[in-house]
């Protein structure tokens, strides 16, 4: 496999890893605060729809992005209400959120645009266009680094770079700030935070909100950057993969980046039977490629890649008075 092909595969890896990464970080904030969230999928989907819808009607991708974040935040609110205020079962709440998004997006899309549950195609400013980084064209022809910079680093949409920036940012917030310390503490032992005079409820809602924002960006990316519009179920299980990546990453930001890149790479590879055949010298069955991420996840969970210990208070509502 020559450099260019490799770069192209990696390039598509970047595109496919971005939504995973955003969702994964979203899950990271939520679960670090002790709120499990299998509703990432639904949040992304809702965000994807509303961002596309608003981007189409307003003609501005950025407005779309805001709307997407809004939609995702609403679902986060529901999840928070269920699992923080009413101490419900977080898994069940997550399932409900996924169902809700899957249904509502299509119902609303249909009655809004009457196009069988999809939004119209987005044109021009309603989409995020690739950004060509400075000098990209200039050094394009410099051997090796030229193509690397031009093909791989440059030429992605703003959201891709935002996603990448989120990694160090998350790390900094979690480990260098007061908020981060308290957030991690509330996921480990809420009582300690409570008796230290900090509101457990407040912290957890904050975490869930951050989760909503990040999922919102992820969804908007799907519909207004990667694609030009919304089609039903377009999140296509990415939320679950992100969860798997989160476990793989042992709830740490940098690992999350690597995990998502790995899953993105697997997905990108699945699109290039020719490359795989070239590399392995025999045809690999398509279905196998498609499920590789899932199988990998199971293997990871089986702990063959080191045990992943979730936050101690994870999934447990904070109950003071029985």
């Amino acid at each position: 496999m020559d450099l260019l092909t490799l770069l192209q595969v990696l390039d598509s890896t970047m595109r496919l890893a971005t939504p995973l990464l955003l969702a994964c970080l979203a899950g990271l904030f939520s679960e670090r605060a002790g709120i499990f969230d299998i509703g990432l999928e639904g949040k992304m989907l809702a965000a994807a729809f509303l961002s596309a819808a608003i981007a189409y009607t307003s003609g501005s991708a950025w407005l779309g992005l805001l709307a997407g974040i809004g939609a995702s935040l609403v679902l986060s609110g529901i999840h928070g209400l269920a699992s923080i205020t009413f101490r419900g079962n977080q898994l069940i709440s997550g399932v409900a959120v996924n169902f809700l998004a899957a249904g509502l997006t299509v119902v609303v899309a249909q009655s809004w645009f009457g196009q069988g549950g999809r939004t119209p195609q987005l044109q021009g400013a309603a989409r995020f266009d690739p950004i060509t980084l400075p000098f990209a064209d200039a050094i394009r022809d410099v051997p090796v680094i030229g193509p690397i910079y031009y093909e791989l680093i440059s030429g992605h949409t703003a959201l891709v770079y935002i996603a990448l920036l989120m990694v160090p940012l998350s790390w900094w917030v979690l480990y260098a700030t007061r908020f981060g310390l308290r957030l991690r503490a509330v996921g480990e032992n809420p009582a300690a935070v409570d008796t230290a005079g900090v509101s457990v409820i407040g912290l957890r809602y904050a975490a869930v909100a951050i989760c909503g924002v990040l999922c919102g960006i992820a969804g908007a990316y799907l519909a207004t950057a990667l694609q030009a519009g919304f089609v039903k179920d377009m999140s296509a299980g990415r939320g679950y993969i992100a969860l798997a990546a989160l476990i793989f990453a042992k709830w740490r930001p940098w690992y999350a980046l690597y995990a998502c890149l790995l899953f993105g790479f697997l997905q990108a590879l699945a699109l290039r039977p020719d490359v795989i055949e070239g590399a392995l010298g025999f045809k690999v069955n398509v279905q196998l490629l498609d499920v590789l991420p899932y199988i990998l996840t199971v293997i990871i969970l089986a702990g063959f890649v080191g045990k992943a210990i979730p936050p101690r208070a994870g999934g447990e509502p904070y109950v003071k008075e029985r």
Partner: protein, 367 residues
Amino acid sequence: MDVMPKWADVVLIPLISLLLAAILSALVILAIGESPMNALKIMVDGALGSTYGWGYTLYYATNFIFTGLAVSIAFHARMFNIGGEGQAMIGGLGVALVCMYVPWPHWSLALLGGTVAAALFGAAWAAIPAFLQAKRGSHIVITTIMFNFIAAALLNYLLIGALKPQGSMEPATGKFPEATHLPNLHDVLGFFGIEFSKAAPANITFFVAILACVAVWALIWRTKLGYEIRAFGHSESAAKYAGISPTKIIMVSMLISGGLAGMMAINNVQGEAERLVLNAVEGAGFIGIAVALMGRSHPFGVFLAAILFGFLYQGGAELALWTKIPREMIVVIQALVILFTGALDNMVRMPLERAFLAAKRRNKGAA
């Protein structure tokens, strides 16, 4: 002392939750410019207005009884089997194999064979996640979700390959031989002289489902195994003290759960389609979760909840047929039901408990 009388817990709370879900659904329908009343009418007529409608309602209900029971069993052992979808798919594979490759003399035997195969295959699909949970502590929710995806892929692979008849356009098996076709309710009830629509897919499996309910009830509340499963579900530490092996309980309850989910296949694959198609399960595995929640994991509750969801499903199909309301509206309604009966349970419970407590205090005062 318990704060609330039992009836409030098992009847009142679910009813209120349902009501809330219904109101919100009505609002959504209004919002998309349709009349909730009209929608309700169409659903009721279409689902309960004729033996034909009933035939579909019961057909769906049968699926949900199996998946609902599956989720319930797991719940009793405090496990969340979200993999009913995949287990039912693989159960379908089992049914397809025995129906196609075994020359059955009579449908009754075919039903038996199909049931066994479905249960075995479903259980097998639950086995790996169960084992990983028991031995490696891998979170069963995630693993079972993953196994849903893997099951789908496996089925595709077989249905566009080995199992697809030459030249057929569809990823599906050919029709099963005549002898494996199950009598539908028309034939069964006809035997007792009851008139029932010939066209509806509801079939004898419905009675198998009822049997399953009874069996599960007996298992949970009348046998040592059930006693141990519930004990483990309530307190793992206490179970250990009593000499109940966690590994055994996790494995056994998940195998039973998977088996029940798989058994759904005798209804939709052997009973209705009479061949194996892609996505034959159609989300029944997930609806099982809602059914189990609403049914409070009790077989009888599951039965009622399954009928309710069967009604929603059939009614929803009718909606899509005769109005501009898209079929996904039903997914929304399901979501709301799961949300209110499951996750937001306390929203209804807490105020109720306070009310009952206040009432008690007052009575005490009076006495």
